[in-house]
Every structure is written in C-alpha cells, then in structure tokens.
Amino acid sequence: MASLSEATPSTPLESLKRVPDPAGRFGPYGGRYVPETLMFALDQLEAEYYRAKADPAFQAELDHYLRDYVGRPNPLYFARRLTEHLGGAKIYFKREDLNHTGAHKINNTLGQALLCLRMGKPRIIAETGAGQHGVASATAAALFGLECDVYMGAEDVRRQKLNVFKMQQMGARVVPVESGSRTLRDAINEAMREWMGSVERTHYIIGSVMGPHPFPMIVRDFQSIIGEETRRQSLDILGRLPDAVVACVGGGSNAAGIFYPFIDDKGVELVGVEAGGRGSSLGDHAATISFGQKGILHGMMTYVLADDDGQTSPVHSVSAGLDYPGIGPEHSFWRDQSRVAYASASDDDALDAFRMCSRLEGIIPALETAHAIAHVMQMARQRSRDEVIVLNMSGRGDKDCYEVARLMGEKID
C-alpha cells in the first residue's frame, strides 16, 4: 500500500537521529546560553536554514560546488601497507584530506556561506584553531565575494603560519586574539563578541558542531555528506557496512559528519578519539569526554573541562585543532546513550602515527587526524583480518610540517 509506506517516516521514531528538538536539545545537551543580543541572529539563522533545507535549488547549488569545486565524492581507500604492517583488521581511509583546501572543513563553510548569501549579509567571520576552518572560510568568502575576518589565537597564529598566509592571500583579514590562553577557545569568544556588534550584516560561520542552537545541527548536517558517502562506498566496495568507524574529536565536526549517517546502524561501532596530550592532569590534555563533566561553554550545555566554580580549564594538545575544553553537544548525547565510544591518544602517540602513516601510505595526515590513526592502529592489531575499520582521514598534514619538524628538533624554514 503506497499510502502506508509514504506514512512511514524514513527515520524511525525511536531513532537517536531525531535530535535536536525544537529548543535545540540533544537530550539534556545543547540549547542556547548566549547574551540576549544574539538571540535574534540565531532565530534568523534557524529559520533561514529550515527554508534552505526544504529548497531543492539550495541543495542543488551546494551539490554543484561540492562536486566541481571541492572534488566530492572523495575516495574510500584501502590502506594496504598499514593494514599489512599491523596484521589485523582491514583499514580504510575516507579521504577528506583530498578535498580542496585539504580538510573536511570546506563542506561546512560552503553550506554556511550560501546561507549567508540567502540572508543577504555581505560579511562572514570565523574562528580557527589549526587554521583549517579559517582557510575554508576564507576560501568560501573568496568564491562568493564576501568580506571575511578570521579570529585566531595568537599562539595558533605562531603554530600555523602557513594557514595564516593562505587566508591572507585569499583576501581574508586574520585577527590575532591575545586574550586568555590565546588559542581556539579565545578565538571563539572573540568571534562571538565581534558578532554581537555586527549581527545585522555579518554571519558567523562556526567551524564545528558546537555553540548555541542551531549551529551544532547545521554543521552536523553539512558534514554528514562524509558519512553518507562512506556508507554508500562501503556497500559498493565491501558489499556491507564497516565494523567500526573512527574519527578524531576536538569540537567534533568531522566525527559527527561521518558518524551521524551510521547512528541507526547498531552493528557499526563508532569511536571518537580525543587529544590525550601529555598526561591526565587537568591542563595537560583536551580529553573533554574522558575527563570532563556537564557544564556550559560557548553558548551550549555539554561536557566541558572546568574547575569547581565553572571556570574553563586550560587545555593542551600538540594539535591546535583539538585544543578545546568543550565538545559538540551531540557527542555528549551519544556518549550518554553509549552509542559512540570515546577514547584518547597522547601527543606522542599522534606523532608516531603521523610518521607511520607518512612512511607506509605516502599520506601525511593532519596532527588532529593522527590521533585517530593512533587509535586505529591499536584497534586493528586486536581485531581479526575479516573486520573492517574506516578511519576519517579528516585533513592533510602540510600545515603541521613546521610544527612537527620543530618538535623533532629540525628546522625547515
């Protein structure tokens, strides 16, 4: 009966995918904890997003840019030598590193830049940690002729000079943020403050599945193309779904993007890998889910690293992109639902994985991604050869070469 099948929702009612609710909640997480001044912009963005989502012309335009500009779909690649070296489960890489600009971030910035155009705003601002989101925002701004200011912690400006140069070449202004820890968290604070004074003509492109509603939902949706492709490609190449999908987690956008389409596939194990830094003491890592508790940061309720007074704790990671004391609210929800497992990899493990992947596969990964590789290497050794693990190769490591060389005691500039 046609009418019956039409009435059947594609996502079952009990699905964990039916979030957020209208208030922007993922279970108890998410919501909007922002100054009143921003409420108008968030309402406006939410309304515009729902209109765009229902507009086939919007989706067609985004698809066009994702295909012809970004180069999607990118491959699901069998990492033969790494697999043989470890002697366990088969490892596949989802090649987000092959996207234009070298990471998954562009999936989100193109979508949000198109939303910005729909809202008739001539300017975007963005925060950036490692610089990948800043580059992807500057790219989208150049592509669509928008003004672009990128807020970046002064410490990260130093760590990621190459990306700073790239952004400037594309016409963006990079604003070093000197407050607080001078990293990603402070860049977000500064971008939010700037947005408060310019909401009428400016759209803030948040770079991860975080911040006040509707950002976590919008960024997840734009990044979900990663998981949708991976799912299709798995069925094509393997004839089945993978046994596990692994991704690194800072704010959590590449992980949310690859996990979300698999959320209802209960047989697929999902693992997020946080930055374990140099130790388990507060201040030595950025492993928010592993060590944090429920709190408020950057407009959302989620797991955070904070002290007894709710003051945000300092964090450390070798990778500027994971150096964040919070995590997207949907990850907190998935954690509490036990749908996604969260692990961590140390600075040293990530650096080892960075070198191993470069040597064995000829792929220099981003330091963020190297955390996930480190965990996959551990997992693969313990799994049978029949099993398949997909790793989200979220970004390439060109940007990290200077920093890795510095840590190795070599000088290349």
Binding site: Y33, P35, E36, S179, G180, E200, G295, I296, D309
Partner: protein
C-alpha cells in the same frame, strides 16, 4: 521587602533615578571592591541618589564583555577569587551596608555550583538579585521558580536586537528591574549612545511596570543625564572598572571618589 524592590519603590515616590555601578568582585582584591561599593553608596546617600551595586562574578569566558571587563575578570581570577570567597565578602559588606546588590554571573558558574545551592547561598549572603547574561528567557524557567521562592530577583535583559514578539515574554518574567542594553555589541565605553535609545526605552515601558535600567557604553556625566530622562536607573560598568583596576598598591580611592561625584551629579535631587 526585597532591597531592590524597596529601592525602586522609594525612588519612584521621590522621583529619583538610581545609579547602578558595576564592580568586578576581586579586582584589585575583594576588600577594595567592597570599599569602593561602600564609598559609592555613601556618596549616593549624601547626594540623595539611590545606589544599587552590580557585582560581577569574574568568569573565564565572558561572551558579552569588552576588553576592560575581560581584563578585570582575568586579574581577579589570577588572584584566586572564588565564588565562596565572594559570598563571604558580601556577608561582611551586609554588616555595614544596606545598599541593594545584584550579582552579574555567568550561567556556567551558577550551573556548576548547582542553581538551587548557588541561589540560596547568594540570598543568604545578602545578594538581592541575579543578572545571568547568558541565560535567555527561554532557558531561565527553572531558575525563576527557585528565585521566586527565595525572593531573589532574576533580572532579564533586553537588547536593541530583541524583536517585538519576544518582548512580552521577557517583560512578563522580569523581576527587580529590566536591564536595557543600549547598544548592539559588547560592554565598553562609547562616545555616543544610539539616537533611537529614547524611543526603544519608551516602547519597552509600554510592555512592563518593572523599573528599567540602561547600561552598556555609559561613561560620561552627559550620558548619565540623558539616560536619567528616560530610565529608572543608569548602569556604569567599564568606565568605573577601568579606574578601579588602576587603583595603586596604596589602595587610595581619591580618584574613584572624584570620578563618581562628577559622574552622578546629574542624578542629584
């Protein structure tokens, strides 16, 4: 009667406009913060100006604040200021002063210390109301219930970007006073205030009988004078916080005193 309600009730009867100084708790130290609070309250008494002190709980990631208050919060936290220490200082202040106190505190702090416990401790220590700048009306319902049971005022904010359809909801849930943010943006001193400020406040006045205080960007006597024509209270933050931050190691308050005397002269009756 709650001290905030009492202050505005008296001010209404006497046709006075209140002065609302904002001070960061713990910058340069808690003792000085409350010495400044008492000083301002005394000047107010002398000049017949009602004074309501807004006490900022320092927070690591204040979204709505400009560089002056950010820096001040950072100084206070670097000195080791904690929530229990602030409550302790408020208790001591209460033994010497009956000036109403409104705590400006991030929901991150309230949430981490559990809203019920935080609000009870705030009330018990002598705080009369809370301004939680990152808790919009949609998220504030559970706290309103607790606040009402404690007779603690939960002060709501209205911004220039607040659309008319949200106003009734905010106005109807406001207690103590309504905080009108005069400019679109963060806290900080500004040369001039928006031209439509008067119109916006008048619109707000139609929605509510709760007193309206105006803040953000106020730093000069002339601005105080023009706001006093339309509002029930004038809030001054960054301009004062900057000067308190410049107090020397001898903790001499002479410069603060002359600044305040000049600033609030337009409110004297």
């Amino acid at each position: 009667m709650n001290r905030i309600d009492h202050l505005f009730e008296e001010a209404r009867q006497r046709q006075q406009v209140a002065f609302v100084p904002f001070l960061t708790a713990g910058d340069p130290d808690l003792e000085t913060t409350f010495r400044v609070a008492r000083l301002i309250a005394d000047i107010g008494q002398e000049k017949n100006i009602p004074v309501l002190v807004e006490l900022g709980f320092p927070y690591s990631d204040p979204l709505a604040d400009g560089p002056t208050i950010q820096t001040s919060y950072a100084h206070s936290l670097d000195r080791g200021t904690t929530v229990p220490a602030i409550f302790e200082s408020v208790k001591q202040f209460r033994q010497e002063s009956s000036a109403p106190l409104a705590g400006m505190v991030s929901f991150s702090i309230v949430h981490r210390r559990r809203p019920e416990a935080f609000m009870k401790q705030a009330k018990d220590s002598g705080i009369d109301g809370l301004i939680i700048p990152d808790l919009p009306v949609e998220e504030s319902e559970p706290l309103r219930t607790i606040a009402n049971s404690l007779d603690l005022k939960l002060i709501q904010l209205v911004a220039p970007t607040t659309r008319p359809d949200r106003l009734p909801k905010i106005a109807s849930s406001a207690t103590g006073f309504l905080y009108y943010i005069s400019v679109t943006g963060i806290t900080g001193e500004r040369r001039s205030l928006p031209v439509d400020l008067q119109k916006r406040v008048a619109e707000l006045r139609e929605q509510t009988r709760v007193p309206i205080c105006v803040g953000f960007g106020v730093s000069e006597p002339e601005q105080v004078r023009s706001i006093a024509e339309i509002a029930d209270g004038v809030i001054v933050g960054s301009a004062l916080v900057r000067r308190v931050g410049e107090i020397g190691p001898d903790r001499d308050l002479a410069k603060i005193e002359s600044f305040i005397r000049e600033l609030i002269q337009p409110l004297a009756r």
